[in-house]
Amino acid sequence: MQRLGSIGAAIFWLTLSVVVWPAGAGAQPARPQTPPDISGEWRLENHEEDTTAQPPLGDYLGIPFNDAGRMRADTSAESIWGTPEYQCRPHSTPHQWRGLGGARILKEQDPLTRSVATYHFQFMRSLDRPVFMDNRPHPPAWAPHTWTGFSTGEWIGNTLKITTTHLKDGYLKRGGPQTSDMYVMTEYITRHDDILTIVTVVDDPIYQDQPYVESTTYMIDLSSVVAMETCNASSFAENGGTDRHHVPHFLPGQNTALKDWLKTDNWVPEEAARGGVKTVFPEYRSTLNGSVSVANLVVPQSKSVGSVRERIAAQSPRDGEVHLLPVQGNVFMLVADGNNVTASVGAEGVLMVNTGSAKMTDKLLAAVNQLANSVLSAPATNKCAGAVCPGSWGWASPYINNVISSPAPPRPLRYIINTSADPDNIGGNEKAATSGFFPRGGGFGSAVESVGQKASIIAHENVLNRMSTAAAKEPAAPAAALPTDTYYDEFHKLPEFFNGEAVIVYHAPDANTDGDSFVYFRHSEVISAGNVFSTVSYPVIDIQKGGSIQGVIAALNHILDLAVAEYRGQGGTWVIPGRGRLSDTADVASYRNMLTMIRDRVQDLIRQGKTVEQVKAAKPTMDFDGRFGATTGPWTTDMFVEAVYKSLKEKK
């Protein structure tokens, strides 16, 4: 009996543990140990107005625009899509979640750990957007911007937070609103059952008074397939005419369609249609009866993160250092205290486009030397054994020392090309050229020591003329700094391949000055643009030295004629600006488009009989000033506008 009782008690407790425990766990689900799976095929399923149709022209409702943002939107023309450089561009990253065609999210796994190393986002009209999950840093500010930007992600609980930088400028929404190229986008993606909620934060202080927050939803769709929208763009302009460099835009005040939609949506206040931070808070409703003006509203406005001016300047850091960025083929970009120097490094030696400022010469040359050694003469592990190893006579010990510890030094600097006489381009000429070597004069030159003993310096002859003549604030350059080979017509080709490719120096007549050039490395597919192109300021146009806005635009058009994008308007021929980040055709096109718009605006004001002071007061550059302008320093917005005015008045 006692035994039966004990056995019964044991069975009772055993049963209790099996039955009661799950019920005793209560209604709280267990905490998962891994984030939810967001991969799969998703279709846009959100019933808010923006996701079903393109907003009409002039509809800026809910966008916290500042005046620059409004002006930029008002003057943007939809047919910009028809220009050769933009025909194939994908949807902008902010717009992507609202475009047609669904989304595909793929997981790329680390093969050793099976953790997700990278998510890939794909849309119909897009490039693959990888989101790196490995805590890698974002690239430096002088690295290229792309359509999809550079994204890193982290899981915060069950929400994937994605931070994207290095985005090109483009449209915030179809129909006008634009972004600059200095915005940062943050996304928060959370899966709820079969719904994916995506919150996007676009922080663009150039055009917005506060970060712009939107949200949308997708639903899992097992039958969905994200199609590929092919792009068949040729260089034929969809916009007609015979000017392949035509830039569609509206002069300020000339976009007459901005209010057409209000005839249908006649309950929308006209003022609110212009957007603005004060219209997005409930306080705005107090203005509807007219008792309170929008200007007097106090709202809980949000702040942007960081300083956009610092982000712009970081593309061309005046930090006394040299930063290296490999570009393509033989070509490297060196950022020397904010000035870009291009270096071709190869078996025949080194070619530099420009030599930076004088104070940076030692550091620059040290960097170039180190680069050449690492590219051409780096010690390596031995991969060969025996008497037949390359470079060996007999058995391998000289070969081993050559490979492992003492490779042959690289060939020296052979050529310098100066794209202008700007002190920031020629400051290192003397030292750099002297450190180099160019064989000239053959054996007959031995009687004259200096001939054939230094690098050749190539430039347009106007550069030589300016450098060899003292001017008001600039003494004549020393003889050793002067160009040794000049040209005077449309272009100068190096007479032979250098480092395996053609190098062609094109004249940019009457651009920043009368002596500007840009350099095309034809196999590496790199153009060193010199001062004609900058990503940190308006072009510095020296009227006294023959510069003009027309010349700058013509030079940019010439670059665009030569350059070819790799895919969907991105990459391909790389363009190294005089100052700023490494760029491509779309970036050059954006800069060219801006300058064309400004030129047209100033031209229109001149046609109206405005004086230069009146033109400045009209602020024809207002929508670009936050990005490229300056109120202090050696090149201000006012100086730029004045230069544009003068060059148009002189009708060059």
Binding site: A27, P32, W155, I156, P211, E214, T217, Y284
Partner: protein, 276 residues
């Protein structure tokens, strides 16, 4: 051992009460210990060994308490102002929904005392305004809206059958959805993770928009609340709302609505319901 002798030995072993008893007692002791200890997750949720599960307030996956302001960046013309009758932009209405929506008569609604139709749970969160979210008690979250001076009471626990008279705010039941714990070194300092899911029914017929776009008494509103900290340090929440109402909608009506956290009640502006 030979066969018969082995069987005999086994029989003797089985019948030895002390061995059997010992085995069963050991198993019982283990079972008792298991009941007391429980799995690790359950421990965490209980807040300690052997205690009852924590109340929803203590077990909150995210913190929704405080003052919040709606930031109207999307559907502005349909939310900040009252759109004209028949503006059904983007709505997956069926024919009946369009027909009824086309009959909207705000004067009639006011006369009938139904000026709060657009302030029900099916549309309240889309209206511009401020929210004040607090814990009414350990298992009940309260959402007060200054728009229409409405109050939503969100209870935790398994959803019971609808009871009581239908109301503008209906009957809401909630549950936490937990995310994984923050990884070492990551997460931007976030220690909580998860979402709030709320299902609301037993609603009086109302409007999803102020211009009379209807939802019926059979509508079920499912909401998911997520809290995010933006790069500028601000806390926002986004509520994903799914309204299922086959009476008027051809498929679920889904929206997302964003709110920014405020430090205090500045700007709190209770306003009465208005049919326009």
């Amino acid at each position: 051992m030979t066969g018969s002798r082995g069987a005999g030995e086994l029989a003797r072993l089985w019948t030895k009460t002390d061995v059997t008893q010992r085995i069963l007692s050991s198993l019982a002791a283990l079972a008792i210990a298991w009941l007391i200890a429980g799995p690790a997750d359950l421990q965490a949720q209980r807040g300690g060994r052997g205690g009852p599960p924590p109340a929803p307030r203590e077990a909150a996956a995210i913190d929704l308490t405080g003052y919040w302001v709606s930031v109207i960046t999307e559907d502005w013309k349909l939310r900040m102002v009252t759109p004209k009758k028949g503006a059904f932009d983007a709505l997956p209405l069926n024919a009946e929904g369009r027909r009824v929506g086309g009959l909207w008569d705000p004067a009639k609604d006011t006369a009938a005392g139904e000026q709060c139709k657009a302030y029900g749970a099916g549309g309240l969160m889309r209206l511009p305004g401020r929210l004040h979210i607090t814990w009414q008690d350990a298992s009940t979250l309260k959402i007060e809206a200054d728009a229409g001076t409405q109050t939503r009471v969100i209870r935790f626990g398994a959803a019971p059958a609808p009871s009581g008279e239908p109301s503008w705010q209906g009957q809401s039941m909630a549950e936490w959805t937990y995310g994984p714990p923050a990884r070492r070194g990551g997460g931007g300092g976030e220690s909580r993770s998860g979402s709030l899911k709320v299902v609301t029914n037993n609603l009086r017929p109302g409007y999803v928009r102020k211009n009379g776009v209807p939802y019926s008494k059979d509508a079920v509103v499912t909401e998911y609340y997520d809290v995010n900290v933006l790069p500028n340090g601000e806390t926002w929440f986004t509520v994903t709302t799914r309204l299922d109402d086959p009476t008027y909608f051809a498929r679920p009506y889904i929206t997302t609505t964003d709110f920014k956290k405020l430090p205090d009640a500045t700007g709190w502006n209770p306003t009465q319901c208005s049919a326009t």
